[in-house]
Assembly symmetry: C2
Homo-oligomer: 375 residues x 2
């Protein structure tokens, strides 16, 4: 705790691949230098079995809770769920969150420097899959001494990754809560990811991914604007923006350059992402979402799901326009038919997909009840 | 009828503004030369009161039915609803469809040549509103001798325009069927229109709208790709594309350039629009959708709706991701409270918003029943 009352946490780095122990990607490539940036909250117990692994979403980072510096105005991205007295309580659990393999917040990815060339990998970086991500995280957890995960949890891409964990490491995971994330990338999501990528590729500054410096800022901003719409809902847009204009004066009513507030908001969100994110990572991680299919390598989807040995609480969001509840419910039905321990809960929210970053009262209750029930 | 059995129809042009009778736009500008391209099917009766006005959608044209030439492989865009034995039967009605003011299929718009400069108007063209569109169509109908409209009907932007007709010319319209179109552009739709426009503006070939020749093809294609997703539904994408790849061979499974079928489809649709549409028109007509608000000029939304004297059948689409049924139902409730003659019907479809161009069995039944009930 600092004088300001902010609990500080440090983002650390772990080497999870070396020339002696290279990392094999699912696509077939191998890297000898792979690092993951990660944060931990709480202490691992002697048995090494009180760990919770938190999976972040597309533009997230290892910084899930607390503050990295006393100057930080905003806490980690899931601070509403992680902390003393909250459902994921560091006094009880050893909570780990690593930046995804392929991301740009300290983990090795397409914008990392390729030691062989001294320049960013760019599009020479191997395609990353959710399987690669789970595998890299498994290596990190081994390094940290974790024997078994009490819980794997995440929303959106983090929910998809949670499913991958369940299927690839069934004995390592006691329980899991995939939130607003599917077992396979849907064609709807793939279409939306492709238009976002196309916005980046259309930007002349993209240069085939070989840019250095600023990169395709207009393209990345547009990709984010498209995505932001699908993260919310039409009702939430009505509630927040209605048809309000930036210049409400009557004489500005029909002016082309008098944005509606919703347009201003989307542009603001686009610019905000450009300041903190890398376009190559956006391309790689959306590709990982598209390639996400827990069935790959196991035969059918049911064959893959039959591998699951954990307790699973699937969480949908009733207003989600990106990962629709009916898709999650379909997976729940499959697991039930397979005799697996599965429940379904739905977050009620006007916020759409983003509810997993907003509805903390419901999230805390769901996580707490699920963990309590299992004690 | 030609030897091939195709009924031919000609797209004609009408001058609806001249130096003697200029056209005043809602934004305040005036043009002395305005033409509308239009088609008619059937004959106007002596009383001039058997006319049906058909409003087209964003990228539509005056060519609603039949064939323009014996070589045409595809009939007009609403041929499934217009024709002998169909709900809009030319043997009974005089059916009129004009290309929207501001569009690029023969009507005057931003890509028309400005007689004062000899070059395309570009962004010097006045902002066009649905009010301007209805007014221009009213002038056309006067020229054609129409005294009163038996029906105004249209889907999407055509449905929005139908509402504008109802409010601006209540005594001219006997009955109307706005389909999947709202009384005000919603912030959700505005957001989606803005990202589509931004895709065009980000294209270096846009040149502030002052391009000649090809123009911003990549940007327009991307705008269309974004829109195409919202015209369908996640379930329809699953049904049609699932997770199928262009190259299904296992060794292509993780290749970045091995598109999913849904990506291939979206790119195809983007390229297809580029061959037939103009980017400036896309910008102007999406702005018209954003500016669409029947309340403007009348006080409140209820004040505007209270002007309606026609029978109205509001039609929603249960899977519509762009104009949600709850928005249309809200308008129905308002009209009921105002004591207006209004009914609501819903098209059941997996196709999403595009159902108004696909579900002809339901459309024909709805239009036929509505017209029969009113005889």
């Amino acid at each position: 705790m600092t004088e300001t009352g902010k609990t500080l946490v440090e983002t650390r780095k772990a080497t999870i691949a070396s020339p002696e122990k290279p990392f094999d990607f699912e696509v077939g490539a191998t890297l000898e230098h792979v690092e993951l940036a990660y944060e931990t909250y709480g202490e691992l117990n002697a048995a090494g079995d009180n760990a919770v692994y938190v999976c972040h979403a597309l533009t997230g980072s290892a910084h899930a809770a607390f503050y990295n510096s006393p100057e930080d105005k905003v806490a980690g991205w899931w601070d509403g769920l992680i902390g003393p007295g909250k459902a994921l309580d560091p006094d009880r659990y050893f909570i780990v969150c690593a930046n995804l393999l392929g991301s740009c917040y300290g983990s090795t990815g397409p914008s990392s420097v390729n030691p062989k060339t001294g320049r960013p990998y760019g599009m020479d970086f191997p395609a990353v899959t959710t399987r690669d991500m789970a595998k890299s995280q498994r290596r990190l957890l081994e390094k940290l001494g974790v024997k078994r995960l009490r819980l794997v949890i995440g929303g959106s891409l983090g929910g998809m990754l949670t499913w991958q964990w369940l299927v690839d490491y069934p004995e390592f995971v006691e329980a899991a809560m995939p939130i607003a994330g599917t077992v396979q990338g849907s064609p709807w999501m793939i279409g939306l990811n492709e238009v976002a990528r196309q916005a980046i590729f259309n930007d002349p500054a993209w240069q085939g991914g070989n840019y250095e410096g600023k990169g395709p800022e207009a393209g990345l901003a547009l990709a984010r604007m498209i995505a932001m719409i699908t993260y919310r809902s039409d009702r939430q847009f009505w509630q927040r923006f209605a048809r309000d204009r930036v210049h409400p004066e009557p004489e500005q009513e029909l002016a082309f350059d008098n944005w509606f507030q919703v347009e201003s908001y989307l542009h603001y969100q686009g610019q905000k992402l450009v300041r903190r994110f890398d376009a190559r990572t956006y391309v790689y991680l959306t590709e990982a979402m598209d390639l996400h299919d827990v069935a790959r390598g196991y035969g059918s989807l049911n064959d893959a799901l039959a591998r699951i040995q954990s307790d699973v609480l699937v969480v949908g969001i009733d207003s989600d326009m990106l990962y629709f509840p009916h898709e999650l419910q379909d997976t729940v039905q499959r697991l039930r038919h397979l005799g697996r321990k599965v429940d379904y809960a739905e977050i009620h929210s006007i916020y759409g997909h983003d509810a997993f970053l907003i509805e903390y009262e419901q999230l805390n209750r769901l996580v707490r009840d699920f963990l309590e029930r299992r004690r």
